[in-house]
């Protein structure tokens, strides 16, 4: 049994005057996270979105580990130029990082190429950049480890963040804050005999004020003084199911009903969610959350299936993770006949005549998968070893 947090013990049930809130963290099968509630709640989240590259096949920065409430945006260069032995080109005006920079012979001096005119994704209004990682897909013939890598700042190949038309203000702020010299110098390539960069991009990790990344573990604390009531949880939940927790294998199932009206004048929010993800099979964590204790009375983990998209509501059927009905098990029954197919691996018979699937005709009895209904009956008689003196087991309290 999981002990209740002390804060909940101190408050007690239904004495605080604040009705518990319903929190729903959802992680769909594509790694998008959604946070829904039945009222604006600034509570810590328990599920985080996966790191998803915006370009298929693009390498992910190892150092980029998303915390709760953090998101990813990408910036790609659209222009490049090389010095010395470098030959550079960028594919198209908006190349999503695809480029060719290659060197045909040994470096004899520092050779530099520049990637610039980065075209970043538009960050949401008020986004705060937490970190940035340069990601590059490259190959080289020299395998020495100390003369090529990603570092900044330094000499060698430089990425110059100049000329950023249409960049979100917070994005510019990040570049200016990070790049004191006006350049990010990343690559060293002195001793390479052959060196090719296939693609390059900047992975930007950011969060929105009021999200869990800011609030940390304490819903209710408000270190950035964000507008109260506008945390990561959107008040979309209209109804939650009555959940009966069973101590057996019976699965807890219930329907969550969410509003399906929000969005712009053309598209509902759920249209967008369904366009870019799949809620069928999405993982969810439901919590009955007490805001005054910053803790959950109940918590349920499970998966969703989409029941119905109504004209104004969406119904999601939640099933707890332990759901034996979804187990893939062999279609076998408990009976006198062997459930193995003759001659297959589970049977093990190697003869030429098929058995009759009975124990009597079994050719590999140690693999017999059936119920034996013949019992030995000739046990010898013996006096039962039972107590013969009555014992009064009543106790005086």
């Amino acid at each position: 049994m999981i002990a209740l947090p002390n804060a909940l013990k101190a408050i007690g049930g239904a004495h605080s005057g604040i009705d518990p809130a319903h929190l729903l963290d959802v992680l769909d099968v594509n790694g998008n996270a959604y946070y829904w509630s039945d009222r604006p709640v600034n509570a810590p989240t328990v599920l985080s979105p996966y790191l998803i590259p915006s370009t298929p096949g693009y390498p992910l920065p190892v150092a980029a580990v998303l915390g709760p409430g953090q998101y990813v945006a990408w910036a790609f260069p659209t222009q490049a130029e090389g010095e010395g032995d470098f030959h550079t080109s960028i594919h198209g005006s908006n190349c999503s990082g695809s480029c060719d920079q290659f060197f045909d012979g040994p470096f004899t001096a520092k050779n530099r190429f520049r990637l610039f005119n980065f075209q970043p994704s538009t960050l949401p209004l008020g986004a705060i950049v937490d970190s940035c990682h340069l990601v590059s897909n490259y190959s080289c013939t020299n395998t020495a480890s100390n003369d090529f890598g990603v570092t900044a700042p330094g000499a060698g190949i430089a990425i110059t963040p100049t000329g950023l038309p249409g960049v979100a203000s917070s994005y510019q702020a990040w570049l200016q804050n990070t790049v004191s010299s006006g350049e990010i110098s990343i690559f060293f390539g002195i001793d390479r005999e052959n060196f090719t960069i296939y693609s390059t991009g900047l992975c930007v990790i950011y969060h929105l004020p009021g999200s869990a990344a800011v609030v940390g573990g304490g819903g209710g604390s408000n270190p950035l003084n964000v507008t109260p009531g506008y945390g990561p949880y959107k008040p979309w939940i209209l109804a939650v199911p009555k959940i009966t927790f069973n101590r057996s294998l019976q699965t807890d199932i219930g329907q969550f009903i969410l509003q399906n009206l929000s969005g712009d004048v053309l598209s509902r929010d759920f249209e967008r969610i369904m366009r870019r993800s799949a809620l069928e099979g999405a993982f969810f964590v439901y919590r009955l959350w007490d805001p005054s204790a910053n803790a959950a009375w109940l918590e349920m983990h499970g998966t969703f299936s989409v029941d119905a998209f109504g004209v104004d509501t969406v119904t999601l059927k939640g099933s707890q993770l332990l759901n034996p009905a979804q187990d893939d098990t062999p279609n076998e029954i408990f009976c006198e006949n062997c459930q193995n197919q003759w001659g297959r691996a589970r049977c093990g018979a190697t003869g030429t005549t098929e058995c009759q699937y009975s124990f009597q005709t079994c050719q590999v009895v140690e693999h017999f998968r059936g119920f034996l209904n013949s019992y030995e009956t000739n046990y010898g008689e013996a006096i039962a070893n039972v107590a013969t003196r009555p014992t009064n087991r009543r106790r005086k309290i």
Partner: protein, 288 residues
Amino acid sequence: MPATDVLNPVAGWTPAEGDSINPSYNFVRNRPSTLLRKKPIGGHAWERETQNTGHVFELGWTGRTWATIQRVKWYYEQYERGGFFTFKNWDAGGREYVGKFTSISQETETMNARWNISAVFEEVPSAPMVNYPSDWDHDAVLLQVNSDWSEQQLAVKDASSWSEATTATLPAITLGGRLRGSGVGAIPLSNVVMTNPGTAGDWATYEYRGYGFKLWLSTGPAFGKADVYVDDVLLSTVDCNAVANTGPVAALTNQNMPLDIHRVMVSCDGTTSGSGTTITWWALQVMR
């Protein structure tokens, strides 16, 4: 014949009927809600426009001549199925409505040669009008890019094409009979806009229920041309380029549109008569 057939073309008494064809006092003008609304326990309600239905009048004629009763009944019979006619609300500025009688009562004779009758007149959408509603100062509403909950209402091509910004200059505009905007003593308006650098083909669309519209776009030296589509048909190309920054102006007014759910789309043209190509959408003023 339909829209030009006016049930009550004049406000007063007409000798042909020996009566006024206008309904008696105490008639009702109503507009049923066209919104779907859902509200969670906390937070605000979520709403969405779903219907294009218009005004409903519950009209009555009390103690009228037989000629008046005949007139009302004829309009009911003539336009009952597949038709519409014009009704003028004379006491409310003479605004016209196009619709039909959807129900009518049995006439009753209440005194010598005097009858009572009542009927329900419902406005029909998509019907052309002789005179479209034009009282912008009192009947029109302003639909801005965000709701009052700061949730984006303007639909855009994709999230990275248009970005939210603010305009330093607001127009002075009368809404609901009160001056709003940047004028002295005016009631403030939201200064949030959606802006695009002028990438050709980047579009922003507002779908609304109502009649005509005024499209408010920012003008100045940084702004370019925009193609304005109404219900997917190119209406006009407006040039937002100007010598000085004037803030949002009514770049395009299209008053003569029937009641319906309409879509106004601004597609960046990518060209300009000056130096800039930016397109900035402030609001859509819609006649109701």
